[in-house]
Amino acid sequence: MSKLGNIPVQAKSEKKRTNPLARVFDELIQFCQSRSMFMLHYCTGCGAIELPPAMTSRFDMERLGIQPMVTPRQADILLVTGYVSVKTLKRVILTYEQMQSPKYVIGICSCTVNGGMYWQSYATAKVLNEYLPVDVYIAGCMPRPEAVIMGLRRLMSNIENGKGNAWKDYYERYDYYLGNQQHLFGDDWQTPVDVIGEAKFYDLEGEETYGEHTRTLEQHQEPLEAAVMRVKL
């Protein structure tokens, strides 16, 4: 049994901030981050139908600073709205990895919690947070727009209070998530996104970033170094 939510994020040894304004600055940024969220709705299932009313004139998400975006590069929130089949899960993971941190995942509908009405299905992934760090679950079949907005507000307050750090867990415990993914997709699973490289580059490595699963990955992974602009005469 895996635990829902409450992802334990070990705080890394913080760099000494000498600037006295750093705290104010951080809080300003957190405030802005919470007031401006671009969401990518990965409409996998029926829950997607509850989003249009949440966005349009009846509930108007834009007054909270939330607006839809279409590519993972621009988005902050990944809304997984409904059941995730194994095949879709691959794409959800790729999409998540292509988003830029800080990034948040919201699982909408019961299906993302435990498979929902597809609990018996061989082709539906059950617990989303085994594969991705989920910030907020909004259970229900389907949750009404009010519930969706409540979930988003919960996320907003988490971010504002500096608690929306689930995305760091993906880097710090990458081996765990990768293991679960490999368990489902087979050992030759890989995405074109170099998560380990990112963790190194942004100094987000944790104790469990590497492990047996990342070793399995490294054995067959196609190289993902960026082409370097160079003058070789």
């Binding site: 405030f31 981050q33 007031r35 401006s36 834009e62 007054r63 600073g65 621009q74 800080p102 602009m229």
Partner: protein, 299 residues
């Protein structure tokens, strides 16, 4: 003509004109979103929403770059506009407007687009390339009426200097009363220039994933948000200078530019989107016709 008396005044203008343009542009972005919301019977974003967006985008912890040209593309997109606004006179500050003039300015405005196009090109994403191909086609569409309007206006005032045009209008009459047809055609072209509905085929979020912006994350996207606010500002101030007599004082100036930018913003949410070739067709037909008749009157 020489509008700066000392080097310090020029330096102050170099600093303040872009900042002012940026701030006014932010308000225009807010206005755009508010108008959209009100037309759709929503409340719309809070007052500081454009600031939140930009701060958020610049404070992203991770972001991707596809290479040096991708970075430089954003630098040019923002920097080109920063330079362009210095060529646009505002009340009390002429910058170096008399060194360039309207023809230079209209070509100057293509530099940010070209920079961005190069940056998008390096992303190696076909969605972006399709977006750029559509954006350049759109530019071909709206620039022809726009350039005819510019020609007519310059011919009317017998000058290409924006400062000269504004002085003339303030001494005589606003351009919109002397050249109503050109003004109408200019408004049409302005709608295309702003790249908003109904001429936003090159963004087309649902089809090509926001086209040029598809691979832009974090501060890259933030740069484009900054550029967008400049874009609104430049379009409105340019139109105000050509047809509404610029501004004698700040109050009048602000009133005019917000009035000008409000028109295309309101129109934009009333029409569905045009296809690329339909946009070219409509732009080459009505505004060009209006502008040519307008020129005939000017001559």
């Amino acid at each position: 003509m020489a509008s700066f008396n000392s080097i310090s005044e020029l330096l102050a203008q170099l600093l303040f004109m872009p900042m002012l343009a940026f701030l006014l542009g932010l308000v225009m972005v807010l206005m755009y979103r508010k108008i959209a919301a009100r037309l759709q019977r929503r409340i719309g974003p809070p007052f500081f929403q454009p600031v939140y967006d930009i701060v958020k985008l610049y404070s992203k912890d991770t972001q991707i770059s596809h290479g040096l040209i991708h970075d430089i593309g954003i630098v040019v997109a923002v920097g080109g506009y920063v330079a362009a606004v210095i060529l646009l006179p505002v009340p009390g500050m002429d910058g170096i407007a008399d060194k360039g003039g309207i023809i230079t300015l209209s070509y100057f405005l293509m530099i940010p687009s070209l920079g961005m196009a190069l940056g998008v090109g390096q992303c190696a994403n076909p969605n972006g390339s399709i977006g750029i191909s559509r954006a350049l086609t759109a530019m071909l569409a709206y620039d022809i009426p726009f350039i005819i309007v510019v020609f007519g206006v310059a011919l009317h005032y017998q000058s290409t200097s924006l400062v000269g045009m504004i002085d003339y209008q303030q001494a005589h009459q606003w351009g919109i009363f002397e050249m109503p047809l050109l003004a109408a055609a200019g408004l049409f072209a302005l709608q295309g220039m702003m790249g908003k509905h109904p001429f936003e085929i090159y963004v087309a979020p649902a089809e090509i994933a926001t086209g040029p912006m598809v691979e832009m994350s974090g501060k890259f996207m933030g740069g484009l948000f900054v550029m967008q606010s400049f874009q609104f500002y430049v379009a409105s101030v340019l139109y105000t200078s050509l047809f509404l007599g610029g501004g004698a004082n700040w109050f009048e100036f602000l009133l005019k530019i917000f009035f000008v930018v409000e028109i295309p913003m309101s129109i934009s949410f009333l029409f569905p989107r045009y296809r690329t070739e339909d946009m070219v067709r409509i732009m080459w037909k009505w505004p060009v016709m209006l502008a040519l008749i307008g020129i005939a009157f000017v001559i």
